[in-house]
């Protein structure tokens, strides 16, 4: 077991981060490359200023009309993303590993706070799953991959809670943390449409 732990926290963690970083770079590169060959419009209209304008406006809770229209969903979705990163960066167990590995450290949140946050994140995932089933317009466009993705996202938190309470295997959490670092491409589509709306159409896209 010790060997598996060393493998997962060492080479496998490096591999996962490498895949994540290189994969993200590849995704951006391949999108731009395809755009250059077949979709010149994208490169011609994407603008840093208006792209950022859109992303920033969509990053502020309750800033867009649709966020205000769905206050419960918005609240839970923002909490979920913020808690995700808070747990990732400020949990003491992560901190210890980072300090051991790189010799750098910063403040951490108390373990009981982390525990509450993790449970709340799992609760948010359950909310998303229930919403998928209950809302007709969402269930109509849902297939098994949506639940699989949700399970993948929830997995690190479930395993984290289990590990913290000594109910399971710590290494599983680490592995699933790496795997669930996806969807980095998401802001790119916002940046493009934000550019078109801001630069050409002179109008808000939120």
């Amino acid at each position: 077991m010790q060997d598996v732990y060393l493998l997962v926290s060492g080479p496998l963690a490096w591999a996962a981060w490498t895949i994540f970083v290189l994969g993200s770079i590849y995704k951006v590169w391949s999108t731009l490359n395809t755009a250059k060959k077949k979709d010149q419009v994208l490169l011609n209209y994407v603008s840093f200023r208006y792209g950022m304008r859109s992303i920033i406006n969509w990053s502020i809770p309750f800033n867009t009309v649709n966020m205000r229209l769905n206050p419960v969903f918005t609240g839970i979705a923002f909490f979920f993303h913020i808690a995700f990163f808070v747990l990732l960066i400020f949990v003491s167990a992560h901190q210890i590993m980072i300090e051991e590995g790189f010799g750098i450290g910063w403040f951490t949140i108390p373990d009981f706070v982390a525990d509450i946050l993790a449970f709340a994140v799992i609760g948010a995932c359950i909310f998303f799953a229930v919403r998928r089933v209950m809302r007709p317009e969402v269930s109509y466009v849902t297939d098994w991959t949506d639940f699989a993705l949700l399970a993948l996202v929830a997995a690190p938190f479930v395993t984290g809670v289990l590990a913290y309470h000594q109910l399971g295997d710590y290494m599983l959490m680490v592995v699933l943390h790496m795997v669930s670092a996806e969807l980095l491409l998401a802001p790119l589509t916002r940046a493009y449409i934000g550019s078109e709306f801001g630069m050409v159409r002179h109008v808000k896209d939120w």
Binding site: T34, E137, V138, A186, T189
Partner: protein
């Protein structure tokens, strides 16, 4: 869920008879592989199937939140299936996909403002239309309009001499009221080329009269072309006929270049503005239009602020203002429009939602142009607009767009709203100072 109604359209039916599985597959994949590049891939990959776009769509809201009419629901019934099956879909499926893309989406882009990822569903619907065009299953009525574009370079089968005749006729009329009034044809070096859509000379000639009255009283240096290229409209854009769209826009810009004008001022039309300002120029390889393009709303605002037109009397009756998607979500002209409305109308009442979040008229995006077979479904799909208009309690609505007029007229009639529609130019013409009039 209510049973889905699939409407029979003669053009779609006749085209579908000639389809083979091989042709469908080849065409879909050719469009996806060669024309739709990075954006389609990113949009499909990024969509989280969250359904948050639904509340943006007047079709979804008007049809009691039927998920098949939500923006993402429309993508599921078209693009997703085509991608999943790698183009191996039936002719029956294609007929339905065309109904969805061509008649159940106005490409108004309201859903862009609701999608957390900024996915452009209108773009995806335009891809389905493009496939439909290549498979020759475009609905009959809008295809006829596209044919008119390719045969006459205008939308309404207006012959070259009929166009000139309509302008001379309106100039004659104009001179009764303004003895020195002119509609200058082919004046090279004028500052402004004024262009309109085909329906204006065909059956809304009074709009040319009103525009001419405003131009004359404002002392504008303007001209209209006496050749094809006068029509700025573009239904080819909405049938997926990109090649024809390019030809139309090229002729329009070429005509302005030949007349050596500084800018093109367009009448109160939304889709034509989208075509000239946003889409047609791209097809031709210009990032932005090569000649400044000014929509009527902005032009009125300029004239008012430069003191070229003055308010003689106020329009007293309470009015509301409908924001057309293509000049508001397409150009952000909502505040300027309101400045002009407030200058001329003493009692302006907002409808809600408004400005860039206004509900579409359900006629735009070429939907009304698909003609009578789809009319009842279209009107049924915009109950929210009727309710929105009714809530204002006013009896006059200003809608500065031809398609909006068509769509709103049908809604007003069906839901018995008793509201009169006006173009903004009508109110300006009625209420401005006319120093040269007799």
């Amino acid at each position: 869920m209510k049973e889905r109604v699939w409407i029979k359209d003669e053009g779609v039916e006749r085209g579908a008879e000639k389809l083979t599985p091989e042709r469908i597959e080849k065409t879909i994949n050719a469009v996806f592989d060669n024309e739709a590049g990075a954006r389609l891939q990113a949009y499909v990959d990024t969509c989280a199937h969250c359904g948050l776009c639904s509340d943006a769509c007047h079709f979804f809201l008007s049809r009691d939140r039927d998920p098949r009419f939500s923006p993402v629901g429309k993508v599921k019934q078209t693009i997703w299936e085509m991608l999943d099956k790698k183009g191996k879909v039936s002719a029956e499926f294609m007929k339905q996909a065309i109904q969805v893309a061509q008649t159940e989406c106005n490409m108004c882009r309201r859903c862009v403002q609701y999608c957390p990822f900024g996915i452009d569903i209108a773009y995806m619907m335009s891809l389905v239309r493009r496939i439909g065009h290549k498979l020759e299953i475009t609905p009959l009525y809008i295809q006829d309009t596209a044919h008119s574009h390719s045969a006459t370079m205008n939308q309404m089968w207006v012959k070259d001499d009929e166009w000139i005749d309509a302008l001379l006729w309106q100039e004659d009329e104009l001179r009764d009221e303004f003895p020195t009034g002119r509609i200058p044809l082919e004046k090279e070096g004028a500052e402004i080329m004024y262009s309109v859509i085909g329906p204006e000379p065909k059956f809304r000639t009074q709009l040319i009269y009103q525009a001419a009255a405003i131009m004359n009283e404002a002392g504008c240096d303007w001209t209209m072309p006496a050749t094809p290229g006068w029509d700025n409209s573009d239904m080819a854009m909405y049938t997926g006929d990109s090649e024809m769209m390019g030809r139309l826009k090229r002729m329009h810009f070429d005509t302005a270049a030949r007349l050596r004008v500084k800018k093109i001022v367009m009448g109160e039309c939304g889709h034509a503005f989208r075509s000239v300002y946003d889409t047609g120029n791209r097809v031709l390889g210009w990032q932005m239009p090569p000649i400044q393009v000014v929509h009527a709303l902005e032009f009125y605002w300029d004239l008012l602020n430069e003191g070229k037109i003055k308010v003689a009397k106020k329009f007293e009756e309470p009015v509301t203002f409908h924001d057309p998607c293509n000049v508001v979500r397409g150009r952000g002209l909502h505040e300027k429009a309101r400045d002009v409305v407030r200058a001329f109308c003493s009692n302006f009442i907002e409808m809600t939602p408004n400005k860039e979040h206004n509900y579409c008229c359900a006629a735009g995006g070429g939907v009304i142009n698909c003609g009578p077979p789809f009319k009842n479904a279209r009107v049924e799909s915009n109950r929210v607009k009727a309710e929105q208009l009714q809530r204002t309690g006013v009896k006059v609505c200003i809608a500065p767009c031809h398609n909006c007029h068509g769509g709103l007229e049908d809604i007003i009639h069906t839901y018995k709203l008793g509201i009169e529609l006006k173009f903004l130019g009508e109110i300006i013409y009625d209420c401005m100072e006319k120093p040269n009039a007799v």
